[in-house]
Subunit: 334 residues, 2 copies
């Protein structure tokens, strides 16, 4: 169904169809109804076809992220913007925070600004309750929605994710094979990606132990306050829990683990092993340097943009793309 | 001069003036000319007055930054977005990179999106050549432009800056008073703020030495590659230069200095002193923790938003606001 077909079936000009699609007020209510009825009946993806005709496109992509001061999200935004620019697209970004209401509002704002597609950076946009994800499905009825490291089953929603489950599974198994059985899992996010990582850790642990009870430790404080994270680990140790390894859900938590181990006068990695996640610039900040999982963020972003540009050209594209991560071995593991 | 006055003087309706201001095509060229002539003759700040009438505002602010993956800029964006949201404003952000052309394009994109004002985060937007700053002055003819930690003399451009010169002057003097005279200044930006910091260091040094020749070291590599920065310092030492202190223009460079000192087996701070800038989350990442200058970014952002909101309400606001920084003493200085 192209804009030509709609024009023919509705018995109006292409310009009129275009006006209806653009929400112009210069169209009578009767004509508007007629055009929208045809579109309802036969289905139509405005952006893809309008683009093909050079209509209704500003060559601008909307980007959403929860918090640009999060190292990982900031890097994601950076790659996505860079690759859009290389392809002649502008981008506008909304930082939404973590409240559903603000997110739905930001989504609407971007649609008002006539973006050609929306990229949601970070898996924290997907809620557990399906009804909370309706704002994404609604937007996807109007334009393609790309999820970077998140997944949602809905039409016109496309996911590009890192295989966090397998990365964490493999890393945990490796640490166990180096002789450490009492590994704490230290995390601070229950996002989609966060839960996948936790599941990977748990599955690996259960190959050799009966339970991970007490070892899964959820930290609720500020995602930047390394002192608070270190204190959390000291308090944990003082409850009498024995542990000689920490697998952290991100590099900041892992840095706090390094600080903790130093304060306890453990030798790293001889007495104590630590693994981080994201392979961010933080891995070089501590002594010894941090073993961390590289989740190939730049590759993910590159593919996400390729898929989005394909969609905008009206091509069929895969709605789920998964990349493996890689453990980058440094000084904090044996 | 209000929209009422213009309407009266031009002999057209307020709606027509509003259409001209909005660039609507429903106005004849003759009428458009007449309205614009009146505006030219008497001066007019479209946004402030249009806002007062509830016309022509989307309650949306445009934000520009060079690179959201820069820790300091990312934090600035975060605070600015948060405070706008608290005040009922949406925001859209463009990450522009460092090329003038892309910046001018981003500026135009934001104006097309009918934002009420523009916030430029980071002093790197101001070029040395005046003609390169014309894109900012041009934008300011249409809406208020706020510079976070940058300065430009132009109408309708407002600066909120940290007193980087004095902060660096005081910090350098303090390090000299602790007994270190051979202090390297390690920097990687020649932005407005970067040059102010350098000038502060230089002025303090010259109170007790004749020259800073050889001590001012400009690093050109990636702003994230701590290994490359550390190598740079080792190479410097191998040229035979003596130095027992490093003042760094940001915390990442300072972390590299800590790494360098550890590799040289210097005791910190007994044999070697290091000072960073920005008081970012990185200060807690190394051992000992980093003395750093807090340039009060959150305070700056808070005031910038207060000034912008005042302008949008048609109030007179100061066009230059300067806040002092503060040295936060930790383990890397005596």
């Amino acid at each position: 169904m192209t804009i030509y077909d709609i024009s023919e079936k509705a018995g109006v000009s292409i310009a009129t169809v275009s006006r209806v699609l653009n929400g112009s007020r210069k169209v009578s209510e009767k004509t508007r109804r007629k055009v929208l009825d045809i579109i309802d009946r036969y289905g139509y993806t405005p952006n893809a076809f309008a683009r093909g005709l050079g209509l209704n496109t500003m060559k601008t992509i909307g980007i959403m992220c929860a918090d640009s001061s999060d190292l990982y999200l900031a890097k994601g935004i950076y790659y996505v913007e860079e690759k859009l620019r290389e392809n002649g697209y502008d981008s506008i970004l909304c930082c939404t925070g973590y409240e559903l209401e603000a997110r739905a509002a930001a989504m609407n704002l971007l649609i008002t600004k006539k973006v050609d597609g929306i990229i949601m950076v970070g898996s924290n946009f997907i809620y557990e309750k399906d009804s909370d994800n309706q704002y994404i499905a609604n937007a996807a009825a109007q334009l393609p929605v790309m999820l970077l490291n998140g997944e949602l089953n809905a039409a016109n929603v496309y996911s590009v994710v890192s295989d966090d489950y397998t990365s964490m599974y493999d890393a945990t198994l490796q640490m166990m094979q180096s002789g450490i059985k009492d590994i704490v899992y230290f995390y601070n996010s229950t996002s989609y990606s966060g839960m996948r990582k936790l599941a990977g850790y748990r599955a690996a642990m259960l190959t050799q132990t009966d339970s991970t009870e007490g070892l899964e430790q959820f930290y609720r404080g500020s995602h930047e306050d390394i002192h608070a994270m270190t204190r959390y680990l000291k308090d944990l140790q003082e409850t009498g829990l024995q542990f000689h390894g920490i697998i952290a859900a991100d590099d900041t938590l892992a840095l706090a683990a390094v600080k903790y181990a130093r304060e306890m006068n453990y030798r790293i990695p001889e007495d104590f092993s630590i693994l981080g996640y994201n392979n961010s610039m933080l891995v070089n900040c501590c002594e010894p340097e941090l073993t961390s999982i590289d989740n190939k963020l730049e590759t993910l972003c590159q593919h996400l943009i390729t898929i989005l540009l394909g969609l905008l050209e009206g091509k069929e594209m895969p709605n789920r793309t998964v990349f493996p991560g890689e453990i980058i071995k440094r000084g904090t593991t044996r």
